[in-house]
């Protein structure tokens, strides 16, 4: 999957706990993205990064924060997980703005 690793692959957590998902790339691509996928909603953009320490909000950013301290790592944090954040989370990378995305294998997150 184009040198993209998401961890963990599966996680079950309880409401109110903090959760951090990690996306690691070996492609040295500048752009990184976090999406969530839910039935009936397709993929929705949570946050994205256009460089180290440069991030911006997507369509559904409430309740999520991100950090990118190195080119290869993009972290997604749920400060206090809620059941509505149960979803499959995908990381994607791109070499250039607006261009072809390469996706990771996803993280299945269940918030009970």
């Amino acid at each position: 999957d184009a040198g993209i690793t998401q961890s963990p692959r599966h996680k079950v957590t309880e409401t109110g706990t903090p959760v951090t998902l990690r996306c690691h790339q070996t492609e040295n691509h500048r752009y990184m993205y976090w999406y969530r996928q839910d039935p009936g909603h397709g993929l929705r953009l949570i946050h994205y990064s256009y460089g180290v320490k440069d991030t911006d909000k997507g369509e559904v950013s409430d309740g999520y924060s991100v950090s990118r301290s190195k080119t290869e790592d993009f972290l997604l944090t749920l400060e206090s997980a809620t059941s509505s954040q149960t979803s499959v989370y995908f990381c994607a990378i791109s070499e250039a703005r607006d261009e072809k995305l390469f996706f990771g294998s996803g993280t299945q997150l269940s918030v009970l």
Partner: protein, 109 residues
Amino acid sequence: SQQGEEDPQALSIQEGENATMNCSYKTSINNLQWYRQNSGRGLVHLILIRSNEREKHSGRLRVTLDTSKKSSSLLITASRAADTASYFCGGGGYQKVTFGTGTKLQVIP
């Protein structure tokens, strides 16, 4: 709100037939991208068409783009059972790609 809406939501065809999926989008874009997703996997890029292009081909795929109607279509010719998947359109613009809700294609052998 999401960028695009695919139509139909689901499509079932016989192997060998052609499959057409449509996508409408809301805001200005620099390009329109199509992706395939097999069950439980990440999305895989299929084809990208730029806003100044009207049609593009790649193997059995044909994509059209009508910027005046803010719509695109993906045609898969001579479908195969292996084409069974969900297909998503994504609008590329403003440093990001935003997606529609997808079309679920089933190709019956």
